[in-house]
C-alpha cells in the first residue's frame, strides 16, 4: 500500500490523462456518430455512401492498428500529431463509427406516424428531425451509448503503446521501476472501475431525465 501512496501523483497523472482522452474521444465519437448516423439516412446517395465507407473502415480495422498507423505512418506523409492527439482522434473516430449505427437504428425506430403528424402540421424536414424525431430517439440511444463509452474508456489502455502516459502506462512503468506487480495493477484496476462507475451513473441520470413522458416497456 505504501507504494501506491508514494506513487500517487504518478497514478493520478495517468488517471487524468485517461479521463481527458476518454472525454475528448467521447465528444468526437458523439459528433461523428450523429453526423454519420444521420448521413446514413440521407436522401442523397453520395452522402449515404460516404457515411457507409467511414463506418465500415473504422469499424473494420483493429483500433491498435489505427493507432499505430496514425502514430507511425502519418509522419511519412509529413503529418506529425502529438501522441495524445493521435489517441483522441483514433479512439474517437473508431467509436464514432460504432455510435453511428446506434444513432441510425434509434432514429429509424421512431414511428412513422410521428413524421407524418409533423408533416401534416407543416414542420420542415429539419424541424421534424430536431424537434420531433431526435428527442424521441435519444432515450433509445442512451443505454447503448453508455455501453459504448465504457468500452471507449477501456480501450484507452491501448494508448500506452504509443507513449501516452495514461493509467495503464503508469502501472507498467511502476512495475518496471519497482519490480512490484500486484500493487500497481490492482490500483489501476480499481481506477478504471471507478471511472466506469461514474460513467454508468451519469448515463443512469440522463436516461431518467430523457425518458420523461415516453412510454417504455419493462418486465414489471
Amino acid at each position: 500500500m505504501s507504494l501506491i501512496y508514494e506513487a500517487r501523483w504518478v497514478l493520478l497523472e495517468g488517471a487524468l490523462n485517461t479521463i481527458i482522452i476518454t472525454l475528448a474521444a467521447s465528444l468526437l465519437a458523439g459528433a461523428m456518430a450523429f453526423s454519420a448516423g444521420l448521413a446514413r439516412l440521407s436522401s442523397i446517395a453520395a452522402v449515404r455512401c460516404i457515411a457507409l465507407v467511414y463506418i465500415e473502415v473504422f469499424r473494420g480495422v483493429a483500433l491498435l492498428v489505427q493507432l499505430f498507423w496514425m502514430f507511425f505512418v502519418l509522419p511519412f506523409f509529413d503529418i506529425h500529431l502529438e501522441p495524445i492527439t493521435t489517441a483522441i482522434l483514433a479512439i474517437g473516430l473508431c467509436n464514432g463509427a460504432y455510435g453511428a449505427e446506434i444513432v441510425r437504428s434509434a432514429i429509424s425506430a421512431v414511428p412513422r406516424g410521428q413524421r407524418e403528424a409533423a408533416c401534416a402540421l407543416n414542420y420542415t424536414r429539419l424541424q421534424t428531425l430536431w424537434r420531433i424525431v431526435v428527442p424521441q430517439a435519444i432515450p433509445m440511444m442512451l443505454p447503448p451509448f453508455g455501453n459504448l463509452m465504457i468500452e471507449l474508456l477501456k480501450v484507452t489502455a491501448l494508448v500506452s503503446l504509443i507513449t501516452v502516459h495514461d493509467l495503464s502506462f503508469q502501472a507498467l512503468t511502476l512495475q518496471q521501476t519497482t519490480m512490484q506487480t500486484a500493487a500497481p495493477f490492482t490500483a489501476v484496476l480499481v481506477g478504471y472501475f471507478l471511472i466506469a462507475l461514474v460513467i454508468t451513473g451519469i448515463f443512469r441520470l440522463a436516461e431518467r431525465r430523457a425518458g420523461v413522458g415516453l412510454d417504455r416497456g419493462g418486465l414489471r
Binding site: 407524418e116 402540421l121 420542415t124 424521441q136 420523461v212
Partner: protein, 256 residues
Amino acid sequence: MSPIITLRDVRKTFGPLVVLDGLNMEVQRGEKVALIGPSGSGKSTVLRTIMTLETIDGGEIEIDGESLWHMKRGSRVVPANEAHLRRMRSKVGMVFQQFNLFPHWTVLKNVMNPVRTVLGLPEPEARARAEELIALVGLQDKVNQYPGRLSGGQQQRVAIARALAFRPKVMLFDEVTSALDPELVGEVLNVLRMLAHEHDLTMIMVTHQMGFAREISDRILFFEHGRIAEEGTPEKVFNCPTNDRTRAFLTAVRQA
C-alpha cells in the same frame, strides 16, 4: 365560388396495386363530406394525398383553386417545390387514426409548440390559443399531462385541438375513432359534432361510423376500387342506394 378541394383524374398505385383509379371528386367550401366504403377502396389514400403524405402518379389536385403538386414559374408550370407544398399544407389539417401525439411533450406543448415553430407565434399568443382549444375539447384539467397518461379518446381530442390551432380551412379526419375502445368513441364524435356547426370549416371524414356519417354529413361518397361508386345526400345513399355494391356494403355493415 370554386370548390375548396378538387381531384381530377387522380391515379395512385403502390406497385401493381391501383389504389386511386382516375378519381374525380369535388368538395365545396364549408361542406361536410363522409367517405365510406370497404377497406382498400382508397378512402384513406385520398386524405393522405391531399395532405401530401403520398404523392400521386397522375391527375391533378387543387386546393383553394391552386394546384397542389404543381406551381407556376413565370408562364411555365413546374413541379411544386417545398415552399409551395408548405404554403398549400397550411390550408389543411389532419387527424390520424393512431392520434400520433408527440409523446415527449405535454398536452399543452403538443398544441402550442407546432404553432410556435411553424407559424412563429409568440409564446403568450400560442399558449392562449392552445389553452382555449384544449378547453374546447374538454381537457383543461389535463394540460400538463403527457399523452401516455391519457385514454385514447382524450389523446384523439388533443390531436384535434393540435390541428385546429392552425385554423385550417379544411380538416381531414382519417378513421379517427377506429382505434378507440367503444366507450370512448362518443367523446370524440361529440367534438366532431361541435366542429360540424362551424360554418366555414370544410370537413372530410373517412369513417366506419355510419350513424354518425349520416347525422353530420352534407354528402356521402361511397368508394370502391379507387373511385366513387355512388354519392349523394345521406338520405339518398343510406335509404335508397342505387348501386348494388353500396347496398351490399351497407347491409354488411348493419349486420356487424
